[in-house]
């Protein structure tokens, strides 16, 4: 049987489409080149430079002294534990507080949700430093909150709410909350209300419908938000420094101490490198439980 042109044509189309797709990919690559170039210039190069510095001693020779010091003195391990503990607790508080907020916002008709969204966004637009000091004014032992509580008889003498872990967590959770609420709200908005109705039509109780329909569908937004909060917390400086009262020493605090008082770029870089590697490790381990790419880049 002679090969009919009807069969050949689609093959030709296929090839043409493929080469067109290739071309498009090249164009896209070309378009993203400036961004790639900028990232290489302002992220990869400096990080590489820090990595190099961390292996160089005061005389410019290769050395592991900065890393040896981290083993020799107990403060470094403790500071890393504190950093991860504060970040994990802040993330947890944000999830507990943020999930109901996002749920509430997503359930409201859009003209109302806009107004309530403003309540989430307004503090987000206020300077971090201002909000941190505002918490100090509220929480300190002669602050507004203690004064009020003593006046109405909640407690007799000032309760220590700040200059410790409690104050640090309150301040950080407040600052980080929008980072969790926004992606979560986005994910929740995409959930069709009909699905919950369908579930109850099929006889599911509201609780059952929530846990087997709503929660799994919103978990991608939750994971994305929690991830952003956790990673941002790891490098936090101002809030623990002001609200921790010198008792909550995080990695950023230690890096500042080394830079300000010892001018030792190598030692500070080594801390940065270890923090980066520890973060990557934690994210990798967490990634084995959650699929981050689906969480971050939407459903595939």
């Amino acid at each position: 049987m002679p090969i009919s042109p009807d069969i050949e044509t689609p093959m030709l189309h296929g090839q043409e489409l493929q080469s067109q797709k290739k071309r498009e990919e090249w164009v896209l690559l070309g378009l993203s080149l400036p961004a790639i170039f900028v990232i290489a210039l302002v992220v990869i190069l400096p990080v590489g430079w820090l990595f190099y510095l961390s292996f160089v001693d005061g005389h410019g020779n290769f050395s592991l002294e900065h890393y040896q010091k981290m083993v020799e003195y107990k403060s470094y391990a403790r500071v890393f534990i504190t950093t991860f503990k504060v970040s994990a607790l802040t993330t947890l508080i944000c999830i507990v507080l943020g999930y109901p907020i996002a749920y509430f916002l997503a359930a409201l008709p859009s003209r109302w949700s806009g107004i309530f969204m403003l309540a989430v966004l307004l503090p987000f637009w206020t300077s971090l430093l201002v909000r941190t000091y505002a918490w100090l004014v509220l929480l300190q032992s002669k602050g507004l909150l203690n004064d009020l509580a003593i006046q109405i008889g909640l407690w007799d003498s000032p309760v220590k709410l700040v200059h410790n872990m409690t104050g640090t967590l309150i301040g950080m959770a407040h600052i980080m909350l929008p980072f969790l609420v926004l992606p979560l709200y986005g994910a929740m908005k995409k959930i069709e209300p009909d699905m919950m109705q369908a579930a109850s039509n099929l006889g599911a109780s509201p609780v059952r419908a929530f846990f087997s329909i709503y929660l799994p569908l919103s978990v991608s937004g939750l994971v994305a938000g929690a991830l952003i909060v956790f990673v941002l917390c790891l490098g936090f400086y101002v809030t623990p420094a002001v609200l921790g009262g010198g008792r909550v020493v995080m990695v950023a605090t230690q890096i500042t101490a080394i830079l300000e008082h010892q001018f030792d770029w190598g030692a500070a870089s080594a801390l940065g490198v270890v923090l980066l590697l520890a973060t990557v490790l934690v994210l990798y381990l967490a990634g084995r439980f959650f699929k981050f790419d689906t969480a971050l880049f939407g459903k595939r």
Partner: protein, 357 residues
Amino acid sequence: MVKILKKNSRGVFIGGVVALLCSGSVAAEPITVVSWGGSYGAAQDNALFNDASKNSGIEINRESGASMSKTCLQVESNSVSWDLVVTGSGGAAAAAAKGCLEKIDYSVVDVSDFYPNLYTDYCVGSDVFATVMAWNTDKYGEPGSANAPKSWADFWDVEKFPGKRSYRANNVDGALEPALMADGVPADQVYEVLSTRAGIERAINKIRELKPHIAVFWESGAMQAQLMKDGEVDMITGWNGRFDNAKKDGAKVGYTFNQALLDYDCFAMPKGAPNKETAMKFLAEISKAEYQANLPFHITYGPTNKKAYEVTTAPKELLEALPSHPKNVPLMMPISLDWYANHRAEALELYMELLSE
């Protein structure tokens, strides 16, 4: 047409001003002088910089945020933009050891009337301050009264003086000496004891003993003042001038020079400063007694130039409140820059270990 003319004439006028400014700056480039913020920088502006600039004709750019680590960063990256930088004496010694500072030209800067030990090869003392113990006067009484705290041993005595303490955060400067004095080491033997690892650990252990009573660790002079103003703590270590200014603002705070640590701030010049020669001349000008004599009016830090005590018009009570006043000096213990040059790094590691517990 009129409009265009107007515009043109304005352009000519601006051009003329620019030309004038340029011709003025040919004689001397403005130098960049960097100090700290808050009441300290303002005091230097009012006492030293403004008048010295006027009298010498040297124009200055005044910046804040002085730091030896930023200075070293500028030097190491070959982008020095600062000419004179304020620093603590210990910071200057460390920066000089790293090769970040220019040698002071003492044929230009006259220090013949300076107290000895208040200038080095790399920095010229600007003022004398003291790290003191301060307390809430409502709680423990006015300084000098019978029941007021008198020594570092009292600072550690939480039975006789119950209440919340505050100590230095993230920096070991001036943190170990008080602990050893509280532990019974005489002032003149403190650095001898601190010269061994065991001695440093002894001091750290003494602070560890007090740690449950330390409610807040302070990070800056501004924070010292704020903690006392808010009544957040009852007894604190810190810099005498900050407490005097807090008291002026209504804080119930008093302090003693007894067993205080005598220290000084100084001006240093980054290596490769862009206007080295002009800056050296300006440094010579602000080191003169006539300017230093005005410093006590703005902050209670003492002059480094002895002659300033002779020419000042400040009242006697004010002068007697200064750390470098001859009446106060014998009560205090001078800081040893040698010790900081040799042991600071190790001591800071051990101190951070205590803080991270």
